[in-house]
Amino acid sequence: MHRFANPAEFNRLADAILPWAKVVMAAAFLYGLYLALYASPADYQQGESVRIMYIHVPAAWMAMFTYMVVAVASFTALVWRHPLALLAGKAAAPIGLVFTGLALLTGMLWGKPMWGTYWVWDGRLTSVLVLFFLYLGYMALWRALDEEDKAGRAASILALVGVVNIPIIKFSVDWWNTLHQPASVMRMDGPSMPVEMLWPLLTLAVAYKAYFVVVLLYRMKLEINLRKLSVLSSLEVQG
């Protein structure tokens, strides 16, 4: 049973973190939604449609952040053969896929009233769509190969190659002509946004981050149990 020793430790840690992460998540979502939908002012140009920003921007941040989690986990798994890191990447990918999908969808729903179109094939939108397909490809590779170690290695290599897309997303609004506005929070000279709009944005960003922690821990526990199941069933077949 020594091969489960490490996951057992992880499960204890996860169970210690989960209740706190859930409290932060619930509080930040409640307060963030109150600020985003009610307490914050309408934009002088965009009117009430600006409220989409408070869920669009954190989704886009999490889409990129989660990809970096998958990439770092993949690197750790490839270099040090860390089995838990491999499972962390596998567990994080569906969360990243959902955040990327939400960034695209909420962006389209914001683009239609403000730009007059749901979609433009510019650098920012296209590179985020590529991110969406990178998540899909990573998850598909996990399923494509029967041998789990090989599948994990192939998926991890794809995740590392795809890292090149992250700076492209980040700087796409500076490099190419676009309808998409440039960064207004993560700037060298500080946020260029009024504080009553910054607060709901940052509060919901905290909520999204806490949500990520909660679901990542759920999914890592799930992956550990699935790994145990495949070990147990192979022992049964042999026995």
């Binding site: 939908l37 009610y38 309408a42 009117g47 009430e48 449609s49 409220r51 989409i52 869920i55 669009h56 989704a59 569906p94 969360i95 959902v98 999908g101 939400l102 969808l105 909420t106 729903l109 914001w110 239609k112 009233p113 949500y211 909660v214 679901v215 759920y218 999914r219 526990k221 799930l222 149990n225 699935l226 145990k228 199941l229 147990l232 069933s233 022992l235 049964e236 026995g239």
Partner: protein
């Protein structure tokens, strides 16, 4: 209240964006939790059976 729901004429966009976000986040969390519970139950089922088999 009607004014709040109208979102300055952008109701269709704002509420669809918030609705889709809520739906996706809830579905992902609940399905992760359910799959986790199912896997845990199966691990619990397999383990005692194996021990009995060995004994």
């Amino acid at each position: 209240m009607a004014e709040f729901l109208d979102m300055g004429g952008y109701a269709a966009f704002v509420w669809t964006a918030y609705g889709l976000t809520a739906l996706a986040l809830v579905v992902l969390a609940v399905s992760s939790l359910r799959a986790g519970k199912k896997a845990r139950d199966r691990v619990e089922q397999l383990r005692p059976r194996r021990r009995k088999g060995q004994a």
